[in-house]
Symmetry: C2
Subunit: 532 residues, 2 copies
């Protein structure tokens, strides 16, 4: 074998790494390969960059999503060529739908090697575009400072974007002497349109029949308090979309309902709505289409007013709306008090373990300032409606319908929020897509308690099949919907990745296992298989 | 809840399913979602279609690859919208590089629902194109017969292609009365160019200094025998590419070497080469680029003659070349006899368990007509050089460098070849990408014995890092290369998915566990964690 070459004193990869740090990106969720070795060498020279390994790329991108939702700033990912990016796209889809800022660094072959069409060659840019707001490439090693700074700026553009920078190996390994660009401020969100605000205020003043639908920063404590005062003053109704990146929830916070996932229920909830005022939210639509059912969840003739687009300053919009409807007074805030969760029911469930008793137990036992990551799909529909009287917590959920986010999301949220307990509510079928994330929880000593709703089926598909009118699932359908035969042993799977685990099949046992899991010393992730 | 609608007596999905069956596609590797429910209902009406569930889409597409490599005809996959396809793209990349025929059915929203930009909406066509040779959509329910027949025909176009058909939900659920198109014959491969064959024959007749490089059908027994006669007659050298979809190998077959993965070794092997004659193969290039090393593995001035492109009839080319160089005689076949593997060394290894002793044990114990699926990466480099004296077997390996193929590939190969033992040689790091495939092996009662090379690291990256000249990996690099802390417990992981498993840490123990695993009754997959 030939002697290895001499590594330049400073490479393009060093410039890239220095630029990321200068722009405030100091977490790298990674699954590298050969073409990224010089970037890894640069990371090695920068102990300030925390590197978190995911054993599959869905873990990497999902964790970057969870991290940024809690840290309110982007991490970077490190992915290996087109296939590595492809493996991470599903959770980038979720992150894009959550308006999460992420900077993807995707290694590619050396520029001159592409002509050889080596086995790992693929069209990375085309793969990246559907799940990215911005896709860029460096022009040279010296250009990597500019390219990285632009990627971070794009990611931080309101409300949060996916920026993908393709890194040719020869740019990473060639010498670079350029200084990293100085840190840029986050681009400010756009100002809401005053004319739209005026129309929105008029609709809100009409009170009942108007829905104020919030997303983004509007679902944090400050935005919810403003919205509650508006609702109390005008009689308008507060609602959140079906899926949300982050909601501040629990005792002392405003309890807000969501639009239901099931079309008939959503239509029923919204059928008397004359006007919808959107603050960072989109008008509610069916998650899927069904024969003979509408795509919009709003009744015919319903007025839709976009007071603030997702990229606008939603808090500014709420402040302005509050002022316009007279809700910026102490009296209005006092009138809103009933909308805040103040009562706490601590009763622990007993008897059979069901989706409902699992939810009751989590509500009763949730620690202060926990982070709940919800990919419980059909099993978890009971949780949110009762979680307003849990201890104050952040609620993160899957936003883009690409299942396999839950375990990575919890992993990244825990990385971002040391000292807080993360509780992942996780459907078993969905958990299997990215169970590799459990290993990262063990490796990084993360305070995550994962609750697996173990019903041994894609329960949602059983329900959806009935909606086709095909009747009872036959042999082929059951082979595709049921994940019994063999049953998954989640205790074994978790322990196989270094995560402690227990099984529970009664409500009492689940409560005691959950209580013990939450009382474990810091840095000991745990999994509970809730057999329901 | 509203009553479910009445399912039409025959839907577009039924037409699609009937067409697939009529065209000889009777295996469906699937991970469906809501938008594919009517296709599932159609599958339910067609018990002739064997449905195989994968708990992650990388399992689905990788198994479809393994199936088609052994069955020599395409299966279809069923994937759920853009993110479901995205999760399967990495193994479609490998399949594309293996020239494997696959028909992907990707469910999409109803056509009229796309305008609502519901959460799961994405640009499926753009995602599909980089890893597909053909991407199509149906125009209506009635069009699904034409669309499906075209997809199958595209997949079966030589040497084998990836065809992706996007299936809008409303086309699947709407009534269809059209008959399925009648079965079409596979499009024949193109005829080799006579002028190129003449140049190739001339180069072969020059003997030493000429390499005859085979791929595709040239690596099955018939092609190899023709090539051996040519080599014995002319003195030309036989070689296979570094990565191959399927090689017929072992006692009684022609023992052929591969171009090494390591650039310096490949350059050394080929440095005296004056001419390369390609039959279905591409000229050898570096898997990756390295500073100061060439991209082509051929010496300067080496003549490259494409006797048959991958899409040409390679066997016809070999027959014609044999005739032109006088190798189509009994004497030539007799002269080729030394190129056939005839000796068998059955010595079992003893002592320490290493990558080498694992390979020795597998060679010694491999059953007749086994199928070896190799994603052992750096740990498995000893196997192929000694496998020519194993029992006759088929050898399948990862072709596109997108790790995470091995377990699914073995799964699909076992589905295609009941009654044959499948032995998967599997690196631990790569195994983690698609370990969910073990569950499918248990569900489908497949005769797969998976050997995990458990070195608890991405060993290849340690080697590649040194090649950057960065010296010994530091803290961040080790955090990205090593998968100890915690160690993965592969016995627990396998059992958690219903697959029996044992650990071995000496050569003697490995031999006895492997022997017992191979002797298990049919339908009991097993995993051996080889701690090396």
């Amino acid at each position: 074998m030939a002697e290895p070459p001499t590594l330049p004193a400073r490479t393009g990869a060093d410039l890239l790494c220095e630029t990321l740090l200068a722009q405030g990106v100091d977490h790298c969720f990674a699954n590298p390969g050969t073409s990224e070795m010089h970037f890894v060498a640069a990371l090695d020279r920068q102990p300030r960059m925390r590197c978190v390994l995911g054993l599959a790329e869905g873990v990497v991108t999902g964790a970057a999503d969870g991290y940024a939702r809690m840290a309110d700033r982007p991490a970077c990912t490190l992915l290996h060529t087109g296939p590595g990016l492809a493996n991470g796209l599903a959770n980038l889809h979720n992150a894009k739908r959550a308006n999460t800022p992420i900077v993807n660094i995707v290694g590619d072959h050396a520029t001159y090697h592409l002509a050889f069409d080596a086995p790992l060659t693929s069209d990375i840019d085309s793969l990246a575009r559907p799940m990215s707001h911005w896709v860029g490439r460096s022009a040279s090693a010296e250009d990597l400072g500019r390219a990285a700074a632009q990627a971070v700026s794009e990611a931080r553009t309101a409300p949060g974007r996916i920026a993908t920078l393709v890194l040719p190996a020869d740019h990473a390994w060639s010498p670079a002497s350029t200084k990293p660009p100085t840190a840029a401020a986050s681009p400010p969100p756009a100002s809401p349109d005053p004319a739209a605000l005026a129309r929105a205020a008029a609709a809100l003043r009409r009170g009942p029949g108007t829905v104020l639908m919030l997303a983004g920063r509007g679902l944090r404590a400050e935005g919810l308090a403003l919205a509650a005062a508006i609702a109390a003053t005008t009689g308008a109704r507060l609602l959140a979309p079906q899926a949300n990146a982050r909601v501040e929830r629990g005792l002392g916070r405003v309890s807000i309902d969501r639009v239901p996932y099931v079309v008939d229920k959503a239509l029923a909830m919204l059928k008397e709505t004359a006007s919808v005022v959107l603050v960072g939210a989109k008008a509610p639509v069916g998650f899927f289409a069904y024969p003979g059912k509408p795509g919009s969840m709003l009744p015919a003739g319903c007025e839709v007013i976009t007071a603030a687009r997702p990229e606008d300053d939603g808090l500014a919009a709420l402040r302005e709306l509050a002022a316009r409807v007279g809700a910026d007074t102490a009296a209005a805030r006092e009138a809103a008090r009933p909308l805040f969760a103040a009562r706490r029911e601590l009763a622990r469930p007993t008897g059979a373990l069901t989706a409902t008793t699992v939810a009751q137990a989590v509500v009763a036992l949730l620690p202060e300032q926990a982070i709940v990551c919800d990919e419980s799909v059909s099993s978890g529909r009971d949780f949110f409606p009762m979680s307003w009287h849990a201890a104050p917590h952040d609620y993160l959920q899957i936003t883009g319908g690409a299942i396999g986010l839950g375990i990575p999301l919890a992993t990244g949220a825990a990385v971002a929020a040391p000292g807080r307990k993360v509780v992942a509510l996780q459907a078993d079928g969905s958990a299997m897509y990215t169970l590799q994330g459990l290993w990262t929880q063990a490796r990084e000593r993360l305070d995550v308690v994962t609750v697996i709703f173990s019903n041994r089926r894609y329960a949602i598909l059983h329900g959806e099949y009935v909606q086709t009118g095909a009747g009872v699932p036959g042999a082929n359908a059951r082979r595709l919907f049921d994940i019994e035969d063999p049953a998954l042993d989640w205790v074994a799977l978790a322990r196989g990745m270094g995560v402690g685990a227990e099984r529970a099949d009664t409500a009492e046992r689940f409560c005691s296992v959950l209580e013990a899991a939450l009382a474990r010393p810091q840095g000991q992730p745990f999994l509970i298989e809730a057999v329901i």
